[in-house]
Amino acid sequence: MADPTPPTPPTSTTPPATDAAGGSAADGALTRSTAVALAARLRRGEVSAREVVDAHLDRIAALDGVVADGPVWAAKAAEELTADDVHAYLAVTADAARAHADDVDRRRAAGEELGPLAGVPLALKDVLTMRGAPTTCGSRMLEDWVPPYDATVTRRLRDADVVVLGKTNMDEYAMGSSTENSAYGPTRNPWDLDRVPGGSSGGSAAAVAGLLAPLAIGTDTGGSIRQPAALTGLVGAKPTYGTVSRYGLVAFASSLDQAGPFARTVEDAAQLQALIQGHDPRDSTSVREEVPDLLAHLRDGIDGLRIGVVTELQGEGYEPGIAATFEASLERFERLGATIVEVSLPHAPYGLPAYYLIAPSEASSNLARFDGVRYGLRVDAPTAEEMNAATRAAGFGPEVKRRIMIGTHALSSGYYDAYYLQASKVRTLIARDFAAAFETADVLVSPTSPSVSFGLGTKTADPIAMYLNDVATVPASLAGNPALSLPAGLAEAPDAPGTQLPVGLQLMAPLLRDDLMYRVAWAFEQDLGFDPVPTGPRAVEVAR
């Protein structure tokens, strides 16, 4: 690329202003629109926030499998869901969303200065607290728990007048890679409703991919934003650890958890991340350093940048369609003027085992508070100890119990040194590997996931196969570096010839250089021209 690419409109269509006057075609246009385009139309007064919210609520009511009734719409019970229900949402805060939209419209009409995404709807992963609706974490344990406070992310979104549509489905306590570990039934992939959307933020991914929200917030511990983004054709980012407050994020693994954006374009994702990041005195691990402006140099192009291909994050274990798409992506980077360099993260192969010791160890302690004493499920029993045990036996699903047991064992005296401590050392080595790699490369790339979306139920019996989904995403999680997945194209599903499914490309950047990651992603996205609207015989219904 000789010159920086001139700004071009996002590939997902911005409908002409004349379409704004209601009717199903216009609603379709509203739900297909990018967040940035919607925000522009809202600013110009071509459409109201209420119309935008209603268009999304209508689509959710029609396609998601909710009981569209009352102030908060509940998802249908798991056994009542059909194979055509996306089931992205666990709860839709319809009344609150409409009221917030009306308020935004009123204040805009009064001439008030509003935020860049004011009036744009969003889906919030059900692991972040929000007053007024339950925060279940996909668990029976918290089925009726209405949090007494808002997460910092939630508050920042509200302060920016982003309208929360509802809370999205997830693997229980964010433990899983397919959203099949939800106690409330699995979410389906909008590209193929018989397949998984990835996880654990599968509900948030499916909401955005299924045009049930233009934006969503997920959380990423070992890949829980990036892998579902890859499997549903979205942009999903895990910010630098510590740049987005964890206050109000129900902890899975505190040293790894980080909330981040899902969007259908790079710019949308960058806009959303910019709104939620920043120091928070309520989170001790929140960093004080500022991340460079994510948008200022978004369109600067990548001419002359060095793209590092990670030797250890390719080859065996990656589906042929994934490998081929990755090769094509590298050629695309070269065409755009970047230089491809080979870099090594020598300890990356130990990332997965280290991750599956550190994360469960922290989880075993983090989840101890769910004991039936103060909130959530309580199964009564004659003694406090028996009540604790009965509550936890009934409230947690099998994967959560598995990880609590692994973590409890890894922290036990006599095993601590061999497991938790050893894993912590590996973690330090991986962080050093990253630092060294960034001396020869500006950003690193790898496939996001070793496979495209797989069929519902095909990996649930084999935890190890499920864990392998995270092989490429955990290194950046352990090191704390920012990482993002963006669509790299479509590839054929190995188990269904002819079925084309999204493939993700992972970008990893130096600590606090989330801006660089977005800049590279934007250039790639513009050149690729990927259409994020799902297609295929079993894709979710889309008005075209």
């Binding site: 692991v127 972040l128 607290t129 925060t135 974490c137 918290l142 728990w145 949090p147 007494p148 406070y149 997460a151 964890r246 206050y247 109000g248 994020l249 129900v250 902890a251 693994a253 505190s254 040293s255 005195p281 309520r282 989170d283 001790s284 691990t285 160890s361 922290e362 075993s364 302690s365 101890a368 508070r369 769910f370 004991d371 004493v373 103060r374 909130y375 003694t383 406090a384 100890e385 604790n388 409890t408 922290l411 036990s412 005296s413 601590y416 938790y420």
Partner: protein, 494 residues
């Protein structure tokens, strides 16, 4: 009660103490909730201290500074970097089912205390007790078990008050350097005095803001350490001494009978004066300590430590030495410094009072009245200036010693609103030593008691006491007794 007197010949007592001190910061260790003692249950609580999902702790900078200050007062070293760990165990009063504490690297290491132990009446000996560590942690909630046993097991219902949950707590662990109950008591008293002197806690054992557990074992001299028992529920310095003495004797009796000591936690029953098994430590509890990923390292650069050190006030040992030099007895100095009346005494001395006289009043009648009323010296409103003023009134003959006591009591009754001089005036408590006034009263008494006067004149000198009493009655106790006596004799014997 020394080792020699409580254990048979050849046995040695080994004691180490773990003391918990609740800091009097205005807010809790990890959140902004008030630490007020005595608030209605579950009113000083928030998402953080009740362990609501998603909430996060943020370390109270003031608490860390207070802990540093106390660590320095205990002659400890401050680790430049230390961490918070999670101590994992399930208990209903633990909101997160883990306690945030410190593990391998505490804030303070290797301190010591030199304590004054009374070895004979009025004679003191200085003994050094090593301090292994001082670390920071959080207090638990308060459980109330309703019905049946009153303990968790067997109760009908348990109520939990989370007001205390998350209050900053320090744990101070001594080395097993203590060899007799008196040293243990002196250590605890000295620690309490230091905590109060540096102002980080009111250290009230009866309110639980200072708690002490004792690890007690015995051995024959020269042998390796014996199995220890941990004694809990020691609610006063007195209990500590009694419990150690009882426990040491219990262990020796068992060992002499050839019965091995079981490592266990024992409960001190103050009423019965015995320790009883609370729980047997058959296996070591595995707390699965690991660094708390919600918190960052506590960094204490040397220059910050020195800034804190510069804020150290005069410590009790130095204060005692100063008071003894000023004329107090060692026992008096121990009482004043340990009893929290040093500031008032210093003020009194500054205002011109005699150190020993003022100390006598503070440790005598003032302490007695405060104890009877159940108030603190601070609450009494009595100041050093009051004591100096009182002394002046005695010196110039305005008040007798007896009247001075009455005036002092009235000053405290009024919570210091009025000083001794004003109290003496308004209550008419000045000594009647005006000769004219007193002579008139004496003459009247002599005239009214002809029989007694005759007896005195007849040689029964002791009967004059009855007449002194009459004069006192007539003056409501304000007559100067010496003067009254003189005048009576003058009038009677003419």
């Amino acid at each position: 009660m020394t080792t020699a007197s409580i254990l048979p010949e050849g046995w040695e007592l080994i004691v180490g103490l773990e003391v918990h001190v609740e800091l009097t910061t205005t807010t809790k260790m990890w959140c902004g909730c008030s630490t007020d003692f005595g608030a209605a249950p579950n009113t000083n609580v928030c998402a953080v201290c009740t362990g609501q999902p998603g909430s996060l702790p943020v370390a109270n900078a003031r608490a860390i500074e207070d802990a540093t200050l106390l660590g320095l007062a205990l002659n400890g070293g401050i680790h430049g970097r230390c961490w918070f760990h999670r101590k994992n165990y399930f208990y209903p009063d633990l909101a997160k089912n883990y306690q945030i504490s410190q593990y391998d690297v505490p804030l303070v290491h290797d301190g010591h205390l030199d304590v004054e132990v009374e070895v004979a009446d009025g004679a003191f000996e200085t003994r050094r007790v090593g301090i292994e560590r001082l670390h920071m942690e959080e207090d638990t909630a308060r459980s109330l078990h309703v019905g049946d046993t009153g303990r968790l097991h067997g109760a009908d219902r348990s109520l939990i008050d989370y007001n205390r949950c998350g209050i900053p707590l320090l744990e101070i662990v001594s080395h097993p350097d203590i060899r007799d109950p008196e040293t243990a008591q002196a250590y605890l008293r000295e620690l309490q005095a230091i905590v109060r002197a540096v102002g980080v806690s009111d250290a009230r054992m009866e309110e639980g803001s200072m708690r002490c557990d004792a690890n007690v074992s015995v051995r024959r001299f020269g042998e390796p350490l014996g199995t220890r028992c941990e004694i809990k529920n020691l609610n006063s310095v007195r209990s500590l001494g009694r419990a150690i003495a009882y426990e040491a004797q219990r262990q020796v009796v068992l060992l002499e009978d050839g019965v091995a000591i079981r490592q266990e936690t024992r409960h001190w029953d103050e009423g019965k004066g015995v320790t009883e098994t609370l729980r047997v430590k058959e296996t070591v509890t595995d707390y699965r300590y690991f660094p708390d990923p919600d918190l960052v390292a506590v960094v204490s650069p040397a220059e910050r430590v020195e800034e804190v050190r510069a804020r150290l006030p005069e410590l009790p040992a130095a204060a005692r030495a100063r008071l003894v030099a000023a004329g107090l007895s060692p026992a008096q100095a121990v009482t004043v410094v340990g009893g929290g009346s040093l500031t008032v005494l210093d003020d009194a001395i500054a205002a011109g009072a005699d150190p020993s006289t003022a100390a006598n009043r503070l440790t005598g009648e003032v302490a007695g009245q405060l104890g009877a009323e159940g108030i603190t010296l601070e609450e009494s409103g009595l100041t050093g200036a009051h004591l100096a003023e009182l002394e002046g009134l005695v010196a110039d003959g305005t008040l007798s010693t007896k009247l001075a006591k009455q005036v002092l009591a009235s000053v405290i009754d009024g919570r210091g609103a009025h000083g001794p001089k004003q109290v003496a005036e308004t209550e008419g408590l000045q000594q009647v030593s005006d000769e004219g006034e007193l002579r008139a009263i004496v003459e009247q008494v002599v005239a009214d008691n002809a029989g007694t006067v005759a007896a005195i004149r007849g040689g029964n000198d002791k009967a004059i006491g009855a007449l002194v009493g009459q004069v006192m009655k007539a003056t409501r106790g304000q007559a100067d007794p010496r003067k009254t006596n003189e005048l009576l004799r003058a009038v009677i014997h003419g």
